[in-house]
């Protein structure tokens, strides 16, 4: 049975509205998941802060030698923070619906509840590692209030895009199981192709193309540039808002068209 565009639109709208209405469910489940991950550990979620410190420290030590990027430790630490936030979200989004198969086949919870649960989980995890990032920035840069506000505006754009990105990747992962391994590899490679610890020298070539045509570059820039140079990267901000809007439109229609089929493939 083919769906009309109107049915797709109505279905997606109902799904998203119902998902938002069930916020007590996804907030509780997200908190529970974070708790489960660290339940037996002594440091609990503080491991997220420690992991970030270790990662950032290793990058600064390994790639910082004779590096000419201005304030390299802050450049790397901010880039890494944003990259980890986005890459972990993608990695966890792909198997999302298959991981929740029991719930999907046994309850009437809207799929968007699982999406929001992962988005919430990402925000909580991001808040812990974000505390580490803030401490590092206070130590390395001492940003002004204005710089903080601009950087947090950039983070807000990323957070607003999270549910759309999760929806797209979770649906692709449900219908295309190999996608998990494809994205896993791309994310690993993407860490080196994204300017987390490098910068291009306006010399053209592949390096500059990777810098400019990689969407992650711009998401890194909207948080990093305010901290490093104190400037609001308007072009990058507009570009990221455009990418986010496109992601929402795509997620909206994919959700409307595929939501009833997910129960048969997971």
């Amino acid at each position: 049975m083919r769906m009309t565009l109107q049915e797709v639109f109505k279905g997606a709208l109902a799904e998203i509205a119902s998902g938002f209405r069930r916020y007590p469910v996804w907030v509780a489940l997200a908190r529970e998941s974070i708790g489960d991950q660290h339940r037996r550990t002594t440091l609990g979620p503080l491991w997220l802060v420690l992991n970030y410190f270790l990662f950032a420290g290793a990058f600064v030590v390994v790639f910082g030698h004779r590096n000419e990027i201005e304030n390299f430790p802050a450049y790397v630490a901010t880039g890494l923070y944003v990259w980890l936030l986005m890459s972990e979200t993608i990695n966890m989004a792909v198997p999302l619906f298959r991981r929740e198969a029991n719930y999907i086949k046994g309850t009437t919870l809207p799929l968007f509840v699982y999406v929001m649960r992962l988005a919430m989980q990402t925000v909580i995890r991001g808040a812990y590692s974000g505390a580490g990032w803030i401490v590092l920035m206070l130590f390395l840069v001492q940003p002004s209030l204005e710089q903080w506000l601009m950087a947090f505006a950039g983070l807000a754009v990323i957070v607003l895009a999270l549910p759309a990105v999760i929806t797209i990747f979770a649906l692709l992962g449900a219908f295309f199981p190999d996608f998990e391994f494809i994205t896993g590899n791309l994310v690993r490679v993407g860490m080196f192709l994204t300017p987390i610890f490098w910068i291009h020298g306006n010399d053209g070539g592949l390096r500059q193309m990777l810098y400019e045509y990689n969407p992650f570059t711009h998401f890194l820039a909207i948080v990093r540039q305010p901290i490093i140079s104190g400037e609001l990267p308007v072009m990058e901000l507009v570009l990221c808002l455009g990418i986010s809007a496109f992601a929402w439109v795509l997620a909206f229609f994919l959700l409307g068209a595929l939501r009833k089929k997910v129960v048969f493939v997971v």
Binding site: R22, V25, T107, L109
Partner: protein, 241 residues
């Protein structure tokens, strides 16, 4: 509003969505019931076909049939997990379901926390959860275990907790798949009494089971499914537990 279920020529047909994968094709049929038609990537399952029945307040329907006959699919359709692709299905009343004992329970969380989570999933308010909590704990007979992790519970304890949560807020329509036949005799008796009380409060119970004795004890109507079609829908002689 009167509690009722009305199914008219309900059918469910879906395409077998073989996941897009780079692996070589798996020639085995999917583990599914119903009738499979078509070939290659154009295969469809007719899980239910022309299913018609009506239930009203006080009815306890036993769903009977061989594995793959469509019992669970029909239950899931009544619950709203799947939508019919033909015919019409109209349901009046708040529906709750017990398909899988462990569903919605988190192994690391305590029984108490799991009651909260299960309540939220069922759409209860915080106040409803708080009010129902003492009764759920008492009915489940878990005692001090209620503050122990769910993973430390035996199958019987998990079943008691699941049943207590599903029936404490008195759903108007309760759907159950098989497992109620498990557990000890004392629990079955207690569960049977609660189901009687539930239907006494003008509710509907739909129970899918292979246990003929259980169906005869609990239900007043029976619907026999065969390959997704209704073979028989008739009243049963009532035998109270």
């Amino acid at each position: 509003m009167t509690v009722s279920i009305k199914a008219q020529s309900v059918g469910l047909r879906y395409r077998i969505l073989r996941p897009l994968t780079l692996r070589p094709k798996d020639k085995r049929l999917l583990k599914t019931g119903g009738t499979i038609s078509g070939s290659g990537r154009r295969q469809h399952v007719q899980a239910l076909e022309d299913v018609s029945f009506e239930l009203s307040a006080g009815d306890r329907l036993g769903l009977v049939g061989a594995n793959g006959a469509g019992k669970t699919t029909l239950l899931k359709m009544l619950y709203g997990i799947m939508e019919p692709t033909s015919g019409s299905l109209s349901i009046s009343g708040r529906v709750d379901a017990l398909f899988n004992i462990n569903l919605g329970f988190r192994p690391e969380a305590t029984g108490r926390r799991n009651i909260e989570l299960r309540g939220l999933i069922n759409g209860w308010t915080r106040q409803q959860i708080e009010e129902a909590m003492p009764e759920i704990i008492e009915f489940s007979e878990l005692g001090d275990f209620i503050d122990m992790p769910f993973k430390s519970y035996s199958q019987g304890m998990a079943a008691r907790l699941a049943f207590s949560v599903a029936t404490t807020l008195t759903p108007e329509i309760l759907l159950m798949d098989e497992w109620i036949g498990a557990g000890d005799a004392a629990f079955q008796k207690k569960a049977g009494e609660r189901m009687n009380a539930l239907t006494g409060q003008a509710g509907i119970v739909v129970l899918a089971s292979h246990n003929d004795k259980l169906i005869r004890r609990v239900c007043n109507k029976v619907l026999v499914l065969e390959k997704g079609r209704v073979k028989k829908f008739a009243p049963l002689e009532k035998k109270r537990a």
